[in-house]
Symmetry: C2
Subunit: 325 residues, 2 copies
């Protein structure tokens, strides 16, 4: 297998990159994911959260806190899950469908959950029994208007993994029967917590809870998630700096001849005349970005978190564009 | 609904108990679970474990460390899961079976996963397509010999949630095709971590991984689990004090007329001439034990963790036996 293949499946594989480019300067600057570089400041976790079985009441508080952020009042239509990736896999089991459409080139996990699905544009997907899309899309940031998604009658799974920093994109609270996925880790910069949410009609929530059992979320994840969703001031700050960082990144890339191909507040996608060459060049500088097997002329970059990281990226881009002048 | 019903479904419901017995002294002494009262001493968790997506390599290290403790060499036959309760639910989906047998009165989660199952003794379960048992059984500690389980040909799920403190009971590494579940939280006293393992043939492991997605376990759970399974000295100490505690608890209960009805190193089950009366009496003393809807004459007690807790239990039992003299 091409040793680069692992780097094309998911982001975050700095260990694999370090094996491929052993001479690259350490530590690696990981811009290969859409996870915010600024983590919500973790409080000390009470020993009790690790030791005891998480209580149903604590789980309900987490779901209530998240629902409020999503603009919902009804906590009977939301279920916390240990990561939205697992939710995608479980929904594929719970919702049998003959004709499945994935909207556009999108998150690799959809193909893993529905290997038989067809990749279709929005206006061709109306006849599918089930359609799944990321909104905004990952990696190109394409947005489907909420009212278009509301109008359809098929089973719709709308993955709003990157909507926390762009809440105007979200369908919530007006799902009109769609199943909406939300992700905790990307916006709060805490992907290791493994926390996400499924918002759906009660029968789906009930079946999902049946599959997840009585303690789906770890005690620390419940405590951290509840406190983070209640911290509205920090969420405002985070939205602001992600939006700014995304604009700055698009401009930096364009300055070096890498035309913007879309993105979200969490990442930018760019056209690169020689994307594999640039990927290798950045790896040699210890900077991991995200190539895509089905988008050979593009690269996705997350937002650098510090001025040092911005400078490191800029320096590497400068030496690349000079080499190619 | 009977407000006591919640206390009969799972242990650990001290908040529900406190609402039912508001005058009980605080803090509650929770003896209603089989979770060890002594927790493996938690190290500081690196911020990176919370922030980054857990790597596949780290997950494999966790599975390797656990497999070694279970006496296995082959990590292709083990999958870490976010709690064995969720594994039970997922296996019920993955393994369609017409005739399902639950061996004896056992863990409530089996009934939730297979509502249509029949409760049968071991020698009547040979014709079931799928049988599930806890070994040792919860709550009566009944043990089925490994060679009897090895001999059967039907799909067998053997839940060894309480085998860490009694490794001589485990089938592992000689499963002979059975699916074996292990639990992290009960032995290590860290149930809030949500970590367990499924040991099975490769096709089942592959399907299970497909359902769990690419990041089934949180970063901190991977770090904590790996370090705890490598800490053999602590495991020896834990096995010793659990075994001692269990013997001491059985003797204390017998001293107060509560005849032993079995148990494991993590808990004892006892006959109580007036179990509902004793349950209420203990609740009024702020001590929560575990009643069972299908065992009205019995109560299960976990091991007290400190001399203060032993004294508190002894005092409450003394006043109960005096009242009933």
């Amino acid at each position: 297998m091409d040793p680069h293949a692992a780097l094309m499946w998911h982001g975050g594989q700095t260990a694999a990159a370090a094996r491929l480019y052993p001479a690259a300067p350490r530590p690696w600057l990981d811009l290969s994911t859409g996870i915010s570089p600024w983590a919500w400041p973790l409080p000390a976790v009470e020993p009790q959260a690790w030791q005891a079985l998480p209580s149903r009441a604590a789980l309900e508080q987490l779901e209530f806190a998240a629902a409020r952020v999503f603009g919902m009042n009804d906590t009977e239509q939301i279920a916390a899950v240990p990561g939205s990736d697992i939710a995608i896999r479980l929904l594929a089991r719970l919702l049998p469908a003959d004709r499945v459409a994935i909207l556009g080139q999108s998150y690799a996990g959809y193909r893993a959950a529905w290997p038989e699905a067809r990749v279709l544009p929005f206006d061709k997907a109306g006849n599918a029994d089930l359609m799944i899309c990321a909104n905004p899309n990952n990696p190109d940031g394409a947005v489907i208007e909420a009212r278009k998604l509301q109008r359809l009658r098929n089973i719709r799974i709308v993955d709003e993994a990157f909507a926390d920093a762009m809440p105007e994109v979200s369908m919530l609270p007006h799902r009109n029967g769609a199943i909406v996925l939300r992700s905790f880790g990307k916006f709060f910069g805490l992907a290791g917590v493994r926390l996400g949410f499924v918002v759906a009609n009660k029968p789906v929530i009930r079946e999902l809870r049946g599959l997840l059992g009585d303690w789906p979320i770890s005690g620390p994840a419940i405590a951290i998630g509840t406190a983070a969703y209640c911290d509205r001031a920090w969420q405002g700050l985070q939205r602001h700096r992600l939006a700014q960082g995304s604009v700055r990144l698009a401009a930096l890339l364009a300055d070096h001849g890498l035309q913007d191909a879309g993105g979200t507040a969490n990442f930018r996608l760019c056209h690169a005349p020689d994307a594999p060459g640039l990927f290798t060049h950045l790896c040699r500088a210890g900077i991991l970005v995200r190539p895509f097997i089905d988008r050979p002329g593009q690269l996705r970059l997350g937002i650098p978190g510090t001025e040092t990281d911005w400078t490191r990226l800029e320096t590497a881009l400068l030496s690349w564009s000079k080499r190619n002048d």
